[in-house]
């Protein structure tokens, strides 16, 4: 026994200089930034950027990319003290969620190179708490060939237009929509777009609208336009194939790419998956109907995905240097439009080679309304909870009145807890 112990100790002793040397090297060597990101569909582009940064500066970005459990992993890492130097979150409500951890970027030189409109979602009391890294849009995406083959030349704008188009497609044996109802985030995106004009028109702007909801002064059941939401969901469900509640993101993108369906409610991030399934596909962007008023039908256009810098990290300066590089270097400026192929919020950035991004710019230039993602101002957690309730409506568990009550009570609880 003693002999054994002696051997173990001896072996440990023999290796200890090795361990010590290893540690020393790490401390003196180049900086490694610890990064936690979501959007695994961009993994290739992330890695390309990491390689480029390493080649130019010698700094390594140790990057972890997650999707469904991103929030829970981030939460547990933050409260266990294992704070990543750089991480991602949504804009708006997440500003206060992560307030104890993020660095105030207001006075950084590179922030002035970002479009002021893109900074709205990350600014709280004049402080810029995050770095908006791309501009995204969501609405209905359609397959141009399917529309042309079925003789649809006027693009739909109102609920009645969408119904007419769907009827025509269905009569020709084409499934109009792939619903995406199985994804809890597709439902709120589809739903809130149907009343995107309402907060500004009837409730004194988005911030006021959300403040009233948070204070309990306004209930969803008191908003008459909520019927537009239900009408739209009913329409998509009716023309959404035999299993509307089982359609997920993959089903949406592959069905649209192959021409099995004509329309999906998705965002520009879906383009990559669609074109991977069918590189020849031609897709376009439709406005989302806000009831039967064609003038207010628009697209949801915002800079929501936000990069946050941890304020207490020991690599704070290195993390800021990386953001500066991302904003000002030649590679950095071209990364979003050239590699990620989405719209960049950097002033004067190139236009991306993306059908949806081009259509987005064209729609906005022609005067189509581009609404902010105001539902991201709702307290953190409402997206999933309200999504599940809307999913229940689509599955026929609750009727309209019950759904509105459920939305109100879920919202009130989360708003109360967030105070």
């Amino acid at each position: 026994m003693k002999k054994m112990l002696f051997v173990v100790m001896a072996v440990l002793l023999a290796f200890s200089p090795l361990f010590a040397a290893g540690q020393q090297e790490q401390a003196a060597g180049p900086v490694t930034l610890n990064v936690l990101f979501y959007s695994p569909e961009l993994a290739e582009q992330y890695n390309d950027m990491v390689a480029a940064y390493k080649a130019e500066t010698g700094v390594t970005l140790d990057i972890t990319v997650l999707q469904t459990d991103y929030r829970s992993v981030l939460t547990s890492r933050l409260n266990s003290g294992d704070v990543p130097d750089i991480f991602m979150s949504s804009a708006y409500a997440d500003n206060s969620t992560y307030k104890d951890y993020v660095y105030d970027l207001t006075n950084e030189d590179f922030i002035k190179k970002i479009e002021p409109s893109a900074l709205q979602g990350v600014t709280v009391d004049g402080k810029v708490l995050g770095y908006p890294f791309l501009v995204q849009s969501h609405s209905f995406i359609y397959n141009k060939k399917v529309f042309a083959d079925n003789g649809i030349t006027t693009l739909p704008k109102t609920l009645a237009d969408f119904e007419a188009v769907s009827k025509k497609l269905q009569a020709n044996g084409v499934q109009p929509f792939a619903t995406g109802f199985k994804e809890f985030w597709v439902l709120p995106q589809t739903a809130w777009q149907a009343i995107a004009n309402v907060p500004a028109e009837n409730y004194g702007g988005y911030e006021n609208f959300v403040a009233k909801l948070n204070a309990g002064e306004l209930k969803f059941k008191d908003i008459p336009q909520m019927s537009q939401v239900f009408d739209l969901l009913d329409l998509i469900k009716k023309y959404g194939g035999p299993k509307p509640n089982e359609s997920d993101f993959n089903d949406q993108t592959s069905s649209l790419a192959t021409g099995k369906v004509a329309m999906i409610h998705q965002g520009n991030w879906a383009e990559d998956s669609i074109r991977k399934t069918n590189p020849e596909v031609e897709i376009g962007f439709l406005v989302g109907p806000t009831g039967n008023n064609a003038a207010t039908a628009g697209i949801m256009f915002d800079s929501n995905q936000t990069i946050r810098i941890a304020k207490d990290g020991k690599n704070l300066d290195a993390a800021l240097d990386w953001l500066r590089w991302l904003t000002t270097s030649e590679y950095g400026r071209n990364w979003i439009p050239g590699k990620v192929k989405q719209l960049s919020p950097i002033i004067g950035a190139a236009a991306p080679d993306s059908q949806i991004a081009k259509e987005t710019s064209a729609l906005l230039a022609s005067g189509t309304p581009g609404y902010p993602w105001f539902y991201q101002m709702f307290p953190t957690g409402t997206e999933q909870q309200l999504g599940a309730i809307l999913q229940g409506y689509c599955a026929g568990i609750t009727n309209r009145a019950q759904t509105l009550d459920a939305l109100d009570s879920a919202y009130a609880k989360i708003a109360k807890a967030a105070q």
Partner: protein, 299 residues
């Protein structure tokens, strides 16, 4: 030490050795299970979003909300109970029946035992995704070749069907595990008792219910206990197969807790729910084990 008799000394040594050997395990369990558990009991009395550096002590508020004002949680509770009841019954009956079959002299029983055990090796998360694919794309192809309406039912999207889909997948996954326990139980039944009963003229059915079943009661206790607590804790299969949907119709307590803590960022409230779940499992398990233990017989 001087005054100890050799016997006492031996006993003392034995106790010391025992303590020394269990100490590492005890320390590990304390650090990784018991202390975090006590910390979460503390958290359940606070309002905390899991991120802020300060936790606000709010006494019994969380428990008050849980029992008086949380319909969703009780719906999840109801579904969990239904799922648990279903899976305890189905998995144990199927496993017992299969065990009897595979313990007899049928051809290829080793291959069959392995085949039933294989799903148990694969992670439930993966199983969930595989079945999600089978239910959607797989069933659609089946429908196209067979034309049977059965395959066109919305197995994961219809509120009335989704319970059976979830039950089927979880039973399919765990069957092998219980099969092994029951086969092991069957093999401990002494041959002489069986032979004696045959000489006394007992038929197959009587033999099974009067001799075999009482003798494998300990295996049944273990299996029912295991399936009961697993059913109440069901999470991964739901997470990957339905994600609680459609609506919240397949949300289990464990998924509800996960969402409360990590999605809505209500850590304090989430831990309160998990304390209640813990107590529930504890009480039900004690009750079940007592009941079943009293029916066990020793040879």
């Amino acid at each position: 030490m001087e005054s100890m008799t050799p016997l006492k000394r031996k006993q003392w040594d034995r106790a010391l050795t025992f303590a020394l050997f269990t100490l590492p395990a005890l320390a590990a369990i304390l650090i990784s299970v018991e202390i975090p558990f006590l910390m979460s009991v503390f958290s359940s009395f606070t309002k905390w979003n899991g991120l802020d550096r300060a936790q606000t002590f709010i006494g019994l508020e969380n428990y008050k909300e849980l029992f008086l004002d949380d319909l969703d949680m009780w719906k999840a509770f109801g579904f969990t109970l239904r799922l648990t009841l279903g899976s305890v019954l189905v998995v144990n009956l199927c496993a017992l029946l299969l065990a009897v079959l595979l313990d007899s002299d049928i051809r290829g029983k080793n291959a069959l035992r392995a085949a039933f055990y294989v799903p148990n090796i694969v992670s439930l998360i993966i199983i969930g995704y595989i079945w999600r694919f089978i239910f959607s794309a797989g069933f659609e192809s089946f429908f196209q070749t067979t034309g049977m309406d059965f395959f066109m039912f919305s197995w994961l999207g219809d509120v009335n069907l989704v319970y059976f889909s979830v039950l089927m997948v979880s039973v399919w996954h765990s069957l092998g595990f219980y099969l092994v326990i029951y086969i092991a139980g069957l093999q401990t039944v002494p041959r002489d008792l069986i032979e004696a009963s045959m000489i006394d003229g007992a038929g197959r059915v009587v033999r099974f219910f009067r001799i075999t079943l009482p003798l494998i009661m300990s295996a049944i206790t273990v299996s029912v206990f295991h399936s009961l607590s697993n059913g109440l804790k069901a999470f991964d299969v739901i997470f990957s197969l339905t994600n609680g949907g459609p609506g919240n119709s397949t949300t289990t307590i464990a998924l509800d807790i996960y969402r409360t803590a990590f999605v809505i960022n209500r850590f304090g409230y989430g831990t309160a729910k998990s304390v209640v779940l813990f107590l529930m499992i504890l009480i039900l398990s004690i009750f079940q084990v007592r009941l079943f233990k009293s029916r066990e017989v020793e040879v």
